[in-house]
Structures are given as C-alpha cells and as structure tokens.
Amino acid sequence: MSNLTFDEGNERVNVRCAGIIRHEDHLLVVREDDDDFVCLPGGRVQRGESSLDAIHREMDEELNAQIETPQLRYMLENFFWRYGKRFHEFAFYYEVAKPLHVPFQPGVCITGEDDGKVLSFEWVHTAPDALAEINLHPFSMRTRVAELPQGFVHECVVDPDY
C-alpha cells in the first residue's frame, strides 16, 4: 500500500497519525536519524487504511507495541514548512497508554529502527517550554499535550511562516 502523501512542486499534502504517550508528566517523543527536531511517534496513513488502523500499525512498527483502545484527542489540519516543503497535513493524534515494555527513564534515549531510519525515543516533560527546548514539531502540539480534551478537538493550525 502507498502512503497518503501527495507532492506537487514543493507542496505536500499528507495524512498522518501519531500517539500521545504520557507517563508522570512526561511525553514520549522520537527523533528520526539526526533531525534537529522531534515528533510524536507515528507515521503516515496508507491508502485504504483508517487512522485508527494506522496508529495500531505504527505503534507496532516503531515500538513493538500492541496497543489497546487508542483515543482520538486531536484532529488537526496543520499548515507548515519542513524540509523545504510547504505541508498541508491532516493529523490524527491518539492518546495511547504507555506500553508496558517501554521503560520510563527520562534523560535516556531508547534507540530503534523503522523503515531504514534510526529512531531515538526519549521522555520529555510536558511543560510547553520543555517541549519548545527539545524542538517538538509540529509547534501546535507543544501546548496541547499537558492537558488533553474530553473526546476530541478539531483545529486548524497555520504556522506563522506558512
């Protein structure tokens, strides 16, 4: 299956799912290769796949985790620049319980591999300034993970430089 990613010139439309995994006021973030920013674990949704199926698949691929009952907390239409591309992204953020086998050790990187990329996971405090310091992308999630809504919230977030 192919990813829901559609490029035209330097414009990209894509559909993504990510997991909000929290433990004791910390958030699990991931760095791909030597990126200068971190993201929430997750990935692109594929053709013919729902975001719900995708979050199960991504958590399995990235964390070897069989997750139960992920809860949609945010559905964001994100508009931003990255890698020299102008992104128009539909992102589904699911709250996911910490997988039992993922150790909670703030300050320690846990490395893994997915699809040829080196993934470095770490726990970061959910305070917005801590998430800004580690350069969490997209910016919209820096202020949205400490407190999660009941049900889910839909928002459109346009980065200032979009």
């Binding site: 414009e11 053709r47 013919g48 128009h88 539909f90 009941q150 839909h154 459109c156």
Partner: protein, 161 residues
C-alpha cells in the same frame, strides 16, 4: 491553491471533502447531479493550502451564492467505498450550519439548480424520517442516524460503504 484535494491512481482515489449539515423543519438540504442516482450533502473539496472550513465556505459562495458560518466539524468520517468500479478512500468533515437566507425552503420540488463544470446540480430538502431515508439513496448511509439525531459531541467515525 488551485488543486483540489483529490488524488488518484488508476484504480484508487483518495479525496478530502467538506460538507454542511443544514437542517430546517426536520428536513436536510441535499444535492445530486445528472447521471448519478444518489443524493449527498452540499459541499466540496478543499484545495491545497485551504482549511476544510475555508473550502466549505468557498463552495457555498460558488454554488449557492451563500455565506455560511461554521465552527468545528461535527462529524469527521474516514470512509471506504466503491463507485463505478473504483475504490475510494475519503476523509470528510461535516459541519453543522444554519440555512443561508438565499436557500428557500420548499418540499416536493428542487429548491436550487446550478450548472458547474458541465454538470447540472439539483438541491432538495429531504425529510429526516427513517421511512423517507430508507427509500432514498442518501450517501453515506452510515450517517443517516446521525443526521436525524446529531451526536451530542463531535464524532469521529470510520466505516465501509
């Protein structure tokens, strides 16, 4: 900004759609066009760089010369269906909106017509009763019960067909 969020391979389509749930006197505003035998909710595809809200407002300006006000979508639907032998994967945002004053309320006949890109569109108010909806092909069927009784909180739903 000129490209619709509609992406196709030879056999599979992915598209994004924004639609309005407009209810009045226990009827729902629906549309269809010549050559198809089902109804759907008015709206259209957002374009690259355009939010689902902006896309919906633009479609209403273009199609009905109407201004609508919407807040957050009430239903976000990921659906998978076949049409004319091709596979579709659709991400749809359904916004509840008040009826714009330009759209008149009549029953038993079309309330608006439109020619766009060679298609003739008709708009009609369809009664929100299980009996009527059972006898008319309003897509998607999986949302009929939610059109009749709006979900109390925003709903995210995944379905086939």
């Amino acid at each position: 900004m000129s490209v619709d969020l509609s992406f196709s391979t030879s056999t599979a389509h992915f598209n994004v759609r924004s639609a309005a749930i407009i209810r009045q006197h226990n009827h729902l505003l629906c549309t269809t066009f010549d050559g198809i035998d089902f109804w759907f909710l008015p709206g259209g595809r957002p374009k690259r760089g355009e939010t689902s809200i902006e896309g919906l407002k633009r479609e209403f300006r273009e199609e009905l010369d109407a201004t609508i006000e919407v807040d957050a979508p009430h239903i976000i639907a990921e659906s998978f269906f076949d049409l004319a032998g091709e596979h579709y994967h659709e991400l749809a945002f359904y916004y509840v909106a008040d009826c714009p004053p330009q759209v008149r309320f009549v029953t038993g006949e079309d309330c608006h017509h439109l020619e766009e890109e060679g298609r003739h569109y008709r708009y009609r108010w369809i009664e929100l009763s299980p009996t009527v909806l059972a006898n008319i092909d309003l897509q998607p069927r999986a949302l009929h019960s939610h059109f009749i009784d709006l979900p109390p909180l925003p709903l995210h739903i995944v379905f086939d067909g």
